[in-house]
Amino acid sequence: MTDPRHMHAPTGFHEDRPLRRADLLPDPIDQFGIWLADADRAGVPLPNAMALATADADGRPSVRHVLLRGLDDRGFVFNTNRESRKGRELDANPHAGLVFLWTQLDRQVCVDGRVARTTDEDDDAYFATRPREAQLGAWASRQSAPIDDRAALETRMAEATARFAGGDVPRPPYWGGYRVIPRSIEFWQGRRHRLHDRFRYEREDGGAWRIERRSP
Protein backbone atom coordinates (compact mmCIF):
# COMPACT_ATOMS: atom_id res chain seq x y z
CA MET A 1 0.00 0.00 0.00
CA THR A 2 1.12 3.53 -0.62
CA ASP A 3 2.44 5.58 2.27
CA PRO A 4 0.65 8.87 2.68
CA ARG A 5 2.41 11.50 0.70
CA HIS A 6 2.20 15.20 1.55
CA MET A 7 3.40 17.95 -0.71
CA HIS A 8 5.22 21.01 0.46
CA ALA A 9 4.04 24.46 -0.39
CA PRO A 10 5.44 25.49 -3.78
CA THR A 11 8.77 27.20 -3.62
CA GLY A 12 7.32 30.42 -4.89
CA PHE A 13 6.71 32.19 -8.11
CA HIS A 14 9.12 33.51 -10.66
CA GLU A 15 9.67 37.25 -10.94
CA ASP A 16 6.70 39.20 -9.63
CA ARG A 17 4.66 40.01 -12.70
CA PRO A 18 1.56 42.06 -11.98
CA LEU A 19 -1.40 41.90 -14.32
CA ARG A 20 -3.26 45.19 -14.47
CA ARG A 21 -6.59 46.09 -15.94
CA ALA A 22 -4.83 48.56 -18.23
CA ASP A 23 -2.71 45.70 -19.65
CA LEU A 24 -5.73 43.88 -21.04
CA LEU A 25 -6.95 44.09 -24.62
CA PRO A 26 -10.70 44.60 -25.09
CA ASP A 27 -11.11 41.22 -26.79
CA PRO A 28 -10.06 38.16 -24.77
CA ILE A 29 -9.09 36.11 -27.83
CA ASP A 30 -6.57 38.81 -28.75
CA GLN A 31 -5.33 38.80 -25.17
CA PHE A 32 -5.07 35.01 -25.26
CA GLY A 33 -3.03 35.20 -28.45
CA ILE A 34 -0.51 37.44 -26.69
CA TRP A 35 -0.19 35.11 -23.73
CA LEU A 36 0.16 32.05 -25.96
CA ALA A 37 2.94 33.77 -27.90
CA ASP A 38 4.60 34.75 -24.60
CA ALA A 39 4.49 31.11 -23.47
CA ASP A 40 6.00 29.97 -26.74
CA ARG A 41 8.78 32.54 -26.44
CA ALA A 42 9.43 31.53 -22.84
CA GLY A 43 10.15 28.00 -24.05
CA VAL A 44 7.17 26.29 -22.42
CA PRO A 45 6.99 22.75 -23.86
CA LEU A 46 3.67 22.24 -25.71
CA PRO A 47 2.35 25.73 -24.95
CA ASN A 48 -0.83 24.81 -26.85
CA ALA A 49 -1.65 21.86 -24.55
CA MET A 50 -4.92 22.44 -22.75
CA ALA A 51 -6.98 20.45 -20.30
CA LEU A 52 -10.45 19.93 -21.77
CA ALA A 53 -13.30 19.28 -19.35
CA THR A 54 -16.57 17.75 -20.48
CA ALA A 55 -19.48 16.22 -18.62
CA ASP A 56 -21.77 13.34 -19.45
CA ALA A 57 -25.53 13.65 -19.58
CA ASP A 58 -25.69 12.92 -15.81
CA GLY A 59 -23.34 15.78 -14.99
CA ARG A 60 -20.31 13.61 -14.26
CA PRO A 61 -17.19 15.56 -15.27
CA SER A 62 -14.15 14.21 -17.08
CA VAL A 63 -10.96 15.90 -18.26
CA ARG A 64 -7.89 15.18 -20.41
CA HIS A 65 -5.27 17.18 -22.29
CA VAL A 66 -5.60 17.94 -25.97
CA LEU A 67 -3.73 20.31 -28.26
CA LEU A 68 -5.20 23.59 -29.44
CA ARG A 69 -5.24 23.33 -33.25
CA GLY A 70 -6.76 26.63 -34.18
CA LEU A 71 -7.74 29.96 -32.73
CA ASP A 72 -9.87 32.60 -34.37
CA ASP A 73 -12.43 35.17 -33.33
CA ARG A 74 -15.03 32.41 -32.98
CA GLY A 75 -13.08 30.36 -30.48
CA PHE A 76 -10.72 27.51 -29.67
CA VAL A 77 -10.51 24.48 -31.99
CA PHE A 78 -9.22 21.00 -31.27
CA ASN A 79 -9.56 17.71 -33.11
CA THR A 80 -10.37 14.28 -31.87
CA ASN A 81 -12.02 10.99 -32.58
CA ARG A 82 -15.71 11.77 -32.28
CA GLU A 83 -16.33 8.27 -30.90
CA SER A 84 -13.98 8.85 -27.96
CA ARG A 85 -15.45 9.58 -24.55
CA LYS A 86 -15.04 13.32 -25.03
CA GLY A 87 -16.61 13.16 -28.48
CA ARG A 88 -19.62 11.25 -27.19
CA GLU A 89 -19.96 13.58 -24.22
CA LEU A 90 -19.74 16.69 -26.37
CA ASP A 91 -22.33 15.40 -28.78
CA ALA A 92 -24.70 14.74 -25.84
CA ASN A 93 -23.81 17.83 -23.79
CA PRO A 94 -22.13 20.53 -25.89
CA HIS A 95 -20.49 22.47 -23.05
CA ALA A 96 -16.82 22.45 -22.18
CA GLY A 97 -14.18 24.05 -20.02
CA LEU A 98 -10.56 24.58 -21.02
CA VAL A 99 -7.50 25.49 -19.04
CA PHE A 100 -3.97 26.32 -20.16
CA LEU A 101 -1.11 26.38 -17.65
CA TRP A 102 2.24 28.01 -18.30
CA THR A 103 4.12 27.52 -15.04
CA GLN A 104 7.27 29.22 -16.34
CA LEU A 105 5.25 32.45 -16.47
CA ASP A 106 3.01 31.73 -13.45
CA ARG A 107 0.04 32.02 -15.78
CA GLN A 108 -3.19 30.17 -16.35
CA VAL A 109 -6.14 30.82 -18.66
CA CYS A 110 -9.57 29.27 -18.03
CA VAL A 111 -12.28 29.20 -20.69
CA ASP A 112 -15.82 27.96 -20.63
CA GLY A 113 -18.42 27.90 -23.32
CA ARG A 114 -20.59 26.05 -25.75
CA VAL A 115 -19.14 23.62 -28.24
CA ALA A 116 -19.94 23.15 -31.92
CA ARG A 117 -18.54 20.72 -34.45
CA THR A 118 -16.28 22.19 -37.09
CA THR A 119 -17.24 21.64 -40.72
CA ASP A 120 -16.17 18.67 -42.86
CA GLU A 121 -14.20 21.08 -45.07
CA ASP A 122 -12.27 22.40 -42.06
CA ASP A 123 -11.65 18.87 -40.82
CA ASP A 124 -10.43 17.64 -44.20
CA ALA A 125 -8.14 20.63 -44.58
CA TYR A 126 -6.63 20.14 -41.16
CA PHE A 127 -6.29 16.37 -41.51
CA ALA A 128 -4.39 16.83 -44.76
CA THR A 129 -1.73 18.86 -42.92
CA ARG A 130 -0.94 16.08 -40.45
CA PRO A 131 2.11 13.84 -40.93
CA ARG A 132 1.26 10.64 -42.78
CA GLU A 133 2.02 8.46 -39.75
CA ALA A 134 -0.39 10.47 -37.63
CA GLN A 135 -3.04 10.11 -40.35
CA LEU A 136 -2.54 6.36 -40.33
CA GLY A 137 -2.61 6.35 -36.53
CA ALA A 138 -6.05 7.97 -36.66
CA TRP A 139 -7.25 4.97 -38.68
CA ALA A 140 -5.48 2.44 -36.46
CA SER A 141 -6.95 3.49 -33.11
CA ARG A 142 -10.56 3.05 -31.98
CA GLN A 143 -10.01 5.78 -29.42
CA SER A 144 -10.90 4.89 -25.80
CA ALA A 145 -12.02 1.33 -26.66
CA PRO A 146 -10.31 -1.45 -24.68
CA ILE A 147 -7.59 -3.25 -26.61
CA ASP A 148 -5.90 -6.55 -25.78
CA ASP A 149 -2.31 -5.48 -26.01
CA ARG A 150 0.12 -3.19 -27.74
CA ALA A 151 0.62 -5.75 -30.51
CA ALA A 152 -3.07 -5.47 -31.47
CA LEU A 153 -2.60 -1.74 -31.99
CA GLU A 154 0.54 -2.26 -34.03
CA THR A 155 -1.28 -4.82 -36.18
CA ARG A 156 -4.02 -2.29 -36.89
CA MET A 157 -1.36 0.29 -37.77
CA ALA A 158 0.21 -2.16 -40.22
CA GLU A 159 -3.22 -2.83 -41.76
CA ALA A 160 -3.90 0.89 -42.20
CA THR A 161 -0.45 1.36 -43.74
CA ALA A 162 -1.09 -1.45 -46.26
CA ARG A 163 -4.61 -0.25 -47.01
CA PHE A 164 -3.55 3.25 -48.02
CA ALA A 165 -0.18 2.35 -49.56
CA GLY A 166 0.67 4.50 -52.54
CA GLY A 167 -2.12 7.03 -52.06
CA ASP A 168 -3.35 9.82 -49.84
CA VAL A 169 -4.78 8.91 -46.46
CA PRO A 170 -8.34 10.23 -46.26
CA ARG A 171 -9.83 11.58 -43.07
CA PRO A 172 -11.65 8.84 -41.13
CA PRO A 173 -15.37 9.61 -40.92
CA TYR A 174 -15.26 9.55 -37.11
CA TRP A 175 -12.43 12.05 -36.86
CA GLY A 176 -12.99 15.79 -36.68
CA GLY A 177 -12.90 19.05 -34.82
CA TYR A 178 -14.82 20.91 -32.17
CA ARG A 179 -14.84 24.60 -31.47
CA VAL A 180 -15.26 25.93 -27.95
CA ILE A 181 -17.12 29.23 -28.29
CA PRO A 182 -16.19 31.14 -25.17
CA ARG A 183 -18.74 32.52 -22.77
CA SER A 184 -16.07 33.51 -20.26
CA ILE A 185 -12.28 33.65 -20.32
CA GLU A 186 -10.22 34.21 -17.23
CA PHE A 187 -6.60 35.32 -17.12
CA TRP A 188 -4.76 34.33 -13.97
CA GLN A 189 -1.35 35.62 -13.00
CA GLY A 190 0.12 33.91 -9.94
CA ARG A 191 1.59 36.22 -7.32
CA ARG A 192 3.09 35.82 -3.88
CA HIS A 193 1.11 34.99 -0.74
CA ARG A 194 -1.58 33.63 -3.05
CA LEU A 195 -2.61 37.23 -3.83
CA HIS A 196 -2.91 36.41 -7.52
CA ASP A 197 -4.27 38.76 -10.17
CA ARG A 198 -7.37 37.39 -11.89
CA PHE A 199 -9.40 39.06 -14.62
CA ARG A 200 -12.48 37.51 -16.09
CA TYR A 201 -14.06 38.44 -19.41
CA GLU A 202 -17.70 37.60 -19.73
CA ARG A 203 -19.80 37.92 -22.83
CA GLU A 204 -22.81 40.14 -22.41
CA ASP A 205 -26.08 39.63 -24.21
CA GLY A 206 -25.19 42.13 -26.92
CA GLY A 207 -21.94 40.26 -27.65
CA ALA A 208 -19.64 42.80 -25.98
CA TRP A 209 -17.12 41.65 -23.37
CA ARG A 210 -17.27 42.81 -19.75
CA ILE A 211 -14.03 42.59 -17.75
CA GLU A 212 -13.94 42.17 -13.99
CA ARG A 213 -11.19 41.61 -11.48
CA ARG A 214 -11.83 38.57 -9.31
CA SER A 215 -10.67 37.68 -5.83
CA PRO A 216 -7.84 35.18 -5.99
Partner: protein, 204 residues
Amino acid sequence: MSEKPDLGLDLDDLPPEPMTQFRVWFEDAENEGIHLASAVALATATPDGDPMVRHVLLRGFDERGFVVYTNRESRKGRDLAANPRAAFAVLWRELDRQVVVTGRVTPTDDEESNAYFRTRPREARVGAWASRQGSVLNDRAELMARFEEIDRTYDDDVPLPPYWGGYRIVPRTVEFWLARAFRLHDRVHYVRDEDGWRVERLSP
Protein backbone atom coordinates in the same frame (compact mmCIF):
# COMPACT_ATOMS: atom_id res chain seq x y z
CA MET B 1 6.95 14.62 -27.96
CA SER B 2 10.15 15.05 -26.03
CA GLU B 3 13.46 13.51 -27.02
CA LYS B 4 13.14 10.75 -24.44
CA PRO B 5 13.56 7.17 -25.66
CA ASP B 6 10.26 5.63 -26.69
CA LEU B 7 9.79 3.34 -23.67
CA GLY B 8 6.47 1.59 -23.53
CA LEU B 9 4.05 1.13 -20.68
CA ASP B 10 3.42 -2.57 -20.20
CA LEU B 11 0.51 -3.97 -18.19
CA ASP B 12 2.74 -6.72 -16.86
CA ASP B 13 5.02 -4.17 -15.21
CA LEU B 14 2.27 -2.32 -13.39
CA PRO B 15 1.18 -2.79 -9.78
CA PRO B 16 -2.31 -4.16 -9.08
CA GLU B 17 -3.57 -0.85 -7.71
CA PRO B 18 -3.03 2.61 -9.16
CA MET B 19 -1.87 4.67 -6.18
CA THR B 20 1.49 2.91 -6.12
CA GLN B 21 1.94 3.64 -9.81
CA PHE B 22 0.85 7.25 -9.30
CA ARG B 23 3.50 7.67 -6.64
CA VAL B 24 6.19 6.34 -8.98
CA TRP B 25 5.23 8.74 -11.75
CA PHE B 26 4.81 11.67 -9.37
CA GLU B 27 8.28 11.11 -7.97
CA ASP B 28 9.70 10.78 -11.47
CA ALA B 29 8.18 14.18 -12.27
CA GLU B 30 9.71 15.71 -9.15
CA ASN B 31 13.08 14.14 -9.88
CA GLU B 32 12.91 15.51 -13.41
CA GLY B 33 12.70 18.95 -11.80
CA ILE B 34 9.30 19.78 -13.27
CA HIS B 35 8.09 23.05 -11.77
CA LEU B 36 4.79 22.60 -9.92
CA ALA B 37 4.65 18.88 -10.65
CA SER B 38 1.64 18.78 -8.30
CA ALA B 39 -0.47 21.20 -10.37
CA VAL B 40 -3.53 19.28 -11.60
CA ALA B 41 -6.37 20.45 -13.84
CA LEU B 42 -9.44 19.85 -11.66
CA ALA B 43 -12.77 19.53 -13.47
CA THR B 44 -16.10 19.97 -11.71
CA ALA B 45 -19.59 20.43 -13.08
CA THR B 46 -22.78 22.09 -11.98
CA PRO B 47 -25.64 19.65 -11.29
CA ASP B 48 -27.01 20.33 -14.77
CA GLY B 49 -23.71 19.34 -16.33
CA ASP B 50 -21.91 22.58 -17.10
CA PRO B 51 -18.21 21.68 -16.72
CA MET B 52 -15.42 23.97 -15.53
CA VAL B 53 -11.73 23.32 -15.05
CA ARG B 54 -8.84 25.12 -13.32
CA HIS B 55 -5.51 24.14 -11.81
CA VAL B 56 -5.08 23.40 -8.14
CA LEU B 57 -2.13 21.95 -6.28
CA LEU B 58 -2.37 18.41 -5.08
CA ARG B 59 -1.54 18.54 -1.36
CA GLY B 60 -1.38 14.86 -0.59
CA PHE B 61 -2.37 11.38 -1.64
CA ASP B 62 -2.61 7.98 -0.03
CA GLU B 63 -4.66 4.84 -0.56
CA ARG B 64 -7.86 6.77 0.21
CA GLY B 65 -7.36 9.24 -2.59
CA PHE B 66 -6.04 12.68 -3.59
CA VAL B 67 -6.44 15.82 -1.50
CA VAL B 68 -6.75 19.42 -2.67
CA TYR B 69 -7.65 22.54 -0.68
CA THR B 70 -9.70 25.53 -1.66
CA ASN B 71 -12.17 28.12 -0.58
CA ARG B 72 -15.44 26.21 -0.28
CA GLU B 73 -17.33 29.29 -1.52
CA SER B 74 -15.43 29.36 -4.81
CA ARG B 75 -17.08 28.06 -7.98
CA LYS B 76 -15.40 24.66 -7.54
CA GLY B 77 -16.47 24.51 -3.90
CA ARG B 78 -20.07 25.26 -4.86
CA ASP B 79 -19.96 22.75 -7.73
CA LEU B 80 -18.59 20.06 -5.43
CA ALA B 81 -21.18 20.76 -2.74
CA ALA B 82 -23.99 20.32 -5.27
CA ASN B 83 -22.38 17.60 -7.43
CA PRO B 84 -19.65 15.77 -5.48
CA ARG B 85 -17.87 14.25 -8.44
CA ALA B 86 -14.64 15.42 -10.00
CA ALA B 87 -11.93 14.55 -12.45
CA PHE B 88 -8.38 15.75 -12.73
CA ALA B 89 -5.64 15.50 -15.31
CA VAL B 90 -1.98 16.14 -14.68
CA LEU B 91 0.36 16.50 -17.63
CA TRP B 92 4.11 16.10 -17.16
CA ARG B 93 5.17 17.41 -20.55
CA GLU B 94 8.88 16.78 -20.10
CA LEU B 95 8.13 13.07 -19.59
CA ASP B 96 5.35 12.72 -22.22
CA ARG B 97 3.12 11.47 -19.43
CA GLN B 98 -0.38 12.24 -18.27
CA VAL B 99 -2.53 10.80 -15.49
CA VAL B 100 -6.30 11.19 -15.46
CA VAL B 101 -8.42 10.45 -12.40
CA THR B 102 -12.19 10.44 -11.92
CA GLY B 103 -14.11 9.81 -8.75
CA ARG B 104 -16.38 10.94 -5.99
CA VAL B 105 -15.39 13.76 -3.71
CA THR B 106 -15.73 14.10 0.05
CA PRO B 107 -14.78 17.14 2.11
CA THR B 108 -11.88 16.58 4.51
CA ASP B 109 -12.84 17.01 8.17
CA ASP B 110 -11.86 20.10 10.14
CA GLU B 111 -9.05 18.29 11.89
CA GLU B 112 -7.38 17.35 8.62
CA SER B 113 -8.01 20.77 7.08
CA ASN B 114 -6.58 22.45 10.19
CA ALA B 115 -3.50 20.27 10.21
CA TYR B 116 -2.81 21.17 6.60
CA PHE B 117 -3.60 24.88 7.05
CA ARG B 118 -1.00 25.13 9.81
CA THR B 119 1.72 23.95 7.43
CA ARG B 120 1.13 26.88 5.10
CA PRO B 121 3.35 29.95 5.35
CA ARG B 122 1.78 32.69 7.45
CA GLU B 123 1.31 34.97 4.43
CA ALA B 124 -0.61 32.28 2.59
CA ARG B 125 -2.85 31.81 5.64
CA VAL B 126 -3.48 35.56 5.78
CA GLY B 127 -4.12 35.47 2.03
CA ALA B 128 -6.80 32.80 2.54
CA TRP B 129 -8.66 35.19 4.85
CA ALA B 130 -8.12 38.22 2.64
CA SER B 131 -9.65 36.79 -0.53
CA ARG B 132 -13.33 36.04 -1.02
CA GLN B 133 -12.35 33.66 -3.79
CA GLY B 134 -14.09 34.28 -7.09
CA SER B 135 -15.98 37.39 -6.00
CA VAL B 136 -15.63 40.64 -7.90
CA LEU B 137 -12.94 43.10 -6.75
CA ASN B 138 -12.86 46.77 -7.64
CA ASP B 139 -9.09 46.89 -7.73
CA ARG B 140 -5.98 45.31 -6.30
CA ALA B 141 -5.80 47.94 -3.56
CA GLU B 142 -9.00 46.53 -2.09
CA LEU B 143 -7.36 43.10 -1.81
CA MET B 144 -4.14 44.48 -0.35
CA ALA B 145 -6.08 46.56 2.22
CA ARG B 146 -7.88 43.43 3.34
CA PHE B 147 -4.60 41.50 3.50
CA GLU B 148 -3.07 44.17 5.74
CA GLU B 149 -6.12 44.31 7.95
CA ILE B 150 -6.04 40.53 8.51
CA ASP B 151 -2.30 40.68 8.99
CA ARG B 152 -2.82 43.14 11.88
CA THR B 153 -5.73 41.18 13.37
CA TYR B 154 -3.83 37.95 14.01
CA ASP B 155 -0.47 37.30 15.52
CA ASP B 156 1.37 34.14 14.47
CA ASP B 157 -1.65 31.95 14.97
CA VAL B 158 -3.80 32.57 11.90
CA PRO B 159 -6.78 30.20 12.24
CA LEU B 160 -8.50 28.20 9.52
CA PRO B 161 -11.19 30.34 7.86
CA PRO B 162 -14.59 28.67 8.23
CA TYR B 163 -15.09 28.62 4.46
CA TRP B 164 -11.74 27.03 3.67
CA GLY B 165 -10.93 23.35 3.57
CA GLY B 166 -9.99 20.25 1.67
CA TYR B 167 -11.60 17.75 -0.64
CA ARG B 168 -10.57 14.17 -1.15
CA ILE B 169 -11.05 12.73 -4.61
CA VAL B 170 -11.73 9.04 -4.09
CA PRO B 171 -10.70 7.47 -7.38
CA ARG B 172 -13.05 5.31 -9.37
CA THR B 173 -10.81 5.31 -12.46
CA VAL B 174 -7.15 6.18 -12.89
CA GLU B 175 -5.58 6.29 -16.31
CA PHE B 176 -1.86 6.39 -17.10
CA TRP B 177 -1.05 7.82 -20.49
CA LEU B 178 2.32 7.79 -22.20
CA ALA B 179 2.78 9.62 -25.50
CA ARG B 180 4.41 7.51 -28.19
CA ALA B 181 5.33 8.01 -31.80
CA PHE B 182 2.63 8.44 -34.50
CA ARG B 183 0.05 9.14 -31.75
CA LEU B 184 0.06 5.41 -30.94
CA HIS B 185 0.14 6.28 -27.24
CA ASP B 186 0.00 3.77 -24.42
CA ARG B 187 -3.06 4.13 -22.19
CA VAL B 188 -3.60 1.95 -19.17
CA HIS B 189 -6.85 2.30 -17.30
CA TYR B 190 -7.59 1.15 -13.73
CA VAL B 191 -11.27 0.82 -12.82
CA ARG B 192 -12.48 0.11 -9.31
CA ASP B 193 -15.28 -2.45 -9.02
CA GLU B 194 -16.67 -4.52 -6.13
CA ASP B 195 -13.65 -6.83 -6.16
CA GLY B 196 -10.97 -4.17 -6.26
CA TRP B 197 -9.04 -2.78 -9.20
CA ARG B 198 -9.31 -4.04 -12.75
CA VAL B 199 -6.70 -2.96 -15.31
CA GLU B 200 -7.15 -2.67 -19.05
CA ARG B 201 -5.38 -1.15 -22.01
CA LEU B 202 -7.28 1.47 -24.01
CA SER B 203 -6.87 2.50 -27.62
CA PRO B 204 -5.04 5.81 -27.89
